[in-house]
């Protein structure tokens, strides 16, 4: 009997201590554990994932630009995290359910959002950019880590319905310090709920480096809850896809929750209100630029002659079209009338609020009468 458990992992969090199938230079490396999970993923499928990432990057660039132009109030960029978001979300079935955080534009994209579904909330027109029921995707969560519990609860519902759907939830390295994320892992493990935890370790929680949240690799925590985990290169879409297929298969086959730590980097600011030059070195950013999730896929596909200029041009054109659609739908958005702010607070009539609505309506009517005079 061991009386004292000591951390087994090296306390230093090394970003290269990850499962990887595609190096930053685009070299395909073998991995006995991961390879079987993507054995059927051919060049055409990989080109599809590349296209997804390119389109996502374009949506993200439009979001940033529209904020700078005053068309959206705030934007939380996902630049650099495309492989983590697309690689995980694309593995889900349409009838699975997703619980993302505010930065998971790629999850929302992969779940099928229309152009207006990316930034209606960021523009300040509504609190959700899309209908959660339509996308099988919960309202993007701003309260750090709160959605992980929702995901577990949804998975408990799936268990009671006796079906083989799964739930995935995304959260950052900072969220792992929250009680909710730890409680979510306790509940998920206790009930063997079919949920996949995707921790996007993008190295920063606004300005705080991951070392403030964790002294050892985050993936190492999950086994302590009784949840198997995998730590992958979050900029390697092959590794992320393999890990997510392993995790969803684990959850779908009734074995309970699984945990993925995707090690990546937030290339942009926390949000458009942030100034990362105050807390990050240029060198660090440059080093991560060389680990870009898109260029390595292109390099690999070119090396096996599965990526040509015509494909690149087609992706460029698709991205331009989507970018234009995102922009035009944003500019065409109309703001709801004043009185509508009192709608949908309750699902059933509430005499207190209904009364306020008549008061506000009467107040607004006063202006209308004045205008007529």
């Amino acid at each position: 009997m061991v009386h004292t458990l000591t951390p087994t992992a090296d306390l230093k969090t090394d970003v290269d201590d990850v499962a990887r199938l595609l190096t930053a230079e685009g070299e395909r490396i073998a991995d006995r554990d991961l390879d079987p999970w993507i054995a059927d993923l051919d060049a055409q499928a990989l080109r599809g994932l590349y296209r997804d990432m390119a389109l996502l990057r374009r949506i993200d660039a439009e979001g940033m630009a529209l904020q700078r132009q005053g068309q959206v109030g705030l934007w939380a960029p996902c630049n650099g995290q495309e492989a983590t978001q697309i690689g995980t979300a694309r593995v889900l079935r349409a009838d699975d359910f997703a619980f993302p955080s505010y930065r998971e534009t790629g999850v929302v994209y992969a779940r099928g959002a229309r152009p207006e579904g990316f930034l209606r909330a960021w523009r300040g027109e509504a609190h959700s950019s899309y209908d959660p029921n339509e996308l099988g995707t919960a309202v993007q969560q701003i309260i750090i880590g709160a959605q992980t519990l929702h995901a577990v609860g949804y998975a408990m519902g799936i268990q009671r319905d006796g079906v083989d759907q799964v739930v995935a939830t995304w959260f950052g390295d900072g969220a792992t310090s929250q009680g909710d994320v730890n409680e979510a892992m306790v509940f998920a493990a206790s009930y063997e709920a079919p949920v996949v935890f995707v921790c996007t370790n993008n190295q920063y929680a606004i300005s705080e480096p991951v070392g403030v949240q964790a002294k050892a690799p985050i993936a190492g925590r999950a086994p302590g809850f009784g949840i198997p985990s995998m730590r992958v290169d979050g900029n390697d879409i092959l590794a992320v896809t393999a890990a997510m297929r392993w995790a969803t298969d684990h959850a779908r086959s009734g074995k309970g929750p699984a945990f993925i730590e995707a090690v990546t980097y937030r290339m942009g600011p926390h949000t458009t209100s942030d100034d990362p030059t105050r807390y990050r070195d240029k060198d660090e950013l440059e080093a991560w630029k060389r680990r870009d999730p898109l260029t390595r896929v292109e390099a690999y596909l070119r090396s096996i002659e599965e990526f040509d200029d015509a494909f690149a041009a087609q992706v460029q054109q698709d991205a331009d079209e989507l970018g234009a659609a995102v922009r035009s739908t944003c500019l065409a958005m109309t703001t709801a009338p004043a009185l509508s702010i009192l709608d949908n607070v309750y699902a059933e009539p509430h005499t207190g609020l209904d009364e306020e609505k008549t008061w506000f309506a009467a107040y607004l009517d006063g202006f209308a009468e004045e205008a007529q005079r």
């Binding site: 309260i143 519990l149 699902a347």
Partner: protein, 336 residues
């Protein structure tokens, strides 16, 4: 009609709600084999199984957060918070998610969650076991808040709360759990007074005494005592704290012109302040004297041996009644 304790009436309410709708499930700590620390879920796990009477890990935010997920999935979770003072770890999930998701999703996502809270003092409990946190929840839009005062309402309003598509915080006065009363278990919910309406617990013409929960009993005792002095008190049992039935409240105040509000929760920014402000706005010219609050002091809940000095009793209520009647009272010489 049958004589039941409030605890048993709640138990029956849960049983029938679960039998009627298989989407209803109950979650909480020790609610399974034990039947809950107050035995409100007694026998329910044996009847409905562990998938519907769910013993949870000991984490209130976890209970509330997973209830949100179950609601997303189409379930109607009833959450038991073991004691009033243990709801605070769940506060973030309640305020940020339970209360807001219907609004945030423009009505696409409903949160039909009933949050049952054994509530308030008077039972000689340890610290953190006698709190009255209702004002926090009343202040949070998106929540409905109810507080029951008798076995019949406990049964009926609980069933209405579970059937409601909005989240409902349901306060159960601990010191009335074992008080018996007539309960019609076959009451048709469609015929019952809708959730949200107040009840005239005792008609009267001299003073309107507004209260809710366990204080209703104390208010009734005060009214009986006042009768001996020829004072006719109308007792309003609010039942619903969000929304508040101002139609019933103002009808009474317009009749009596004198208002006392009593609750066990602290005075500052409490329900009494809100009620009196609204009453003053709506029927100022019907008021004969300034309305008065009789509440718990603005203190953390005191030790059990001293709680009788904190929870407003019959005498403190009658003292306030004297104030609104311009009769000699403890505040006669005090300048406010």
């Amino acid at each position: 009609m049958t004589q039941l304790t409030m605890a048993k009436a709640l138990n029956e309410g849960l049983r029938r709600a679960m039998a009627d709708d298989d989407k209803v499930l109950v979650m909480g700590e020790d609610i399974g084999r034990l039947g809950g620390v107050f035995r409100i879920t007694d026998g329910l796990q044996a009847e409905f199984g562990a998938q519907r009477i769910v013993d949870t890990p000991l984490a209130e935010s976890g209970i509330m957060g997973t209830a949100v997920g179950l609601a997303y999935r189409g379930y109607r979770p009833v959450v038991e918070i073991q004691f009033d003072g243990f709801v605070y770890p769940a506060f973030d999930q309640i305020v940020s998610n339970v209360a807001k998701l219907h609004y945030r999703s423009q009505g696409a996502v409903k949160m039909p969650i009933t949050i049952r809270i054994p509530w308030a003092g008077g039972v000689g409990a340890a610290e953190h076991h006698s709190e009255s946190p209702e004002a926090y929840f009343v202040h949070t839009s998106g929540l409905r808040v109810v507080a029951v005062s008798n076995p019949q309402d406990a049964y009926t309003v609980l069933r209405q709360a579970i059937a409601c598509d909005d989240p409902v915080v349901f306060f159960e006065p601990k010191r009335l759990y074992h008080t018996k009363g007539e309960v019609d278990l076959d009451t048709d919910l469609a015929d019952a007074a809708p959730m949200g309406l107040a009840r005239v617990a005792r008609p009267g013409k001299d003073v309107t005494l507004i209260t809710y929960g366990a204080q209703v009993s104390t208010a009734m005792d005060a009214a009986t005592a006042a009768e001996d002095e020829g004072i006719d008190i109308e007792v309003i049992d609010l039942r619903s704290l969000s929304p508040i039935d101002y139609k019933a409240v103002t009808a009474s105040v317009r009749k009596t012109g004198r208002v006392v509000v009593t609750h066990e929760a602290a005075r500052e920014a409490g329900l009494g302040a809100e009620i009196i402000a609204s009453v003053t706005e709506r029927c100022f010219y019907h008021l004969e004297t300034p309305p008065v609050r009789v509440t718990g002091w603005d203190i953390p809940y005191p030790p059990a041996k001293l709680e009788k000095h904190h929870v407003p009793d019959l005498d403190r209520i009658l003292d306030a009644v004297d104030r609104v009647l311009d009769r000699p009272n403890s505040m006669s010489e005090v300048e406010l």
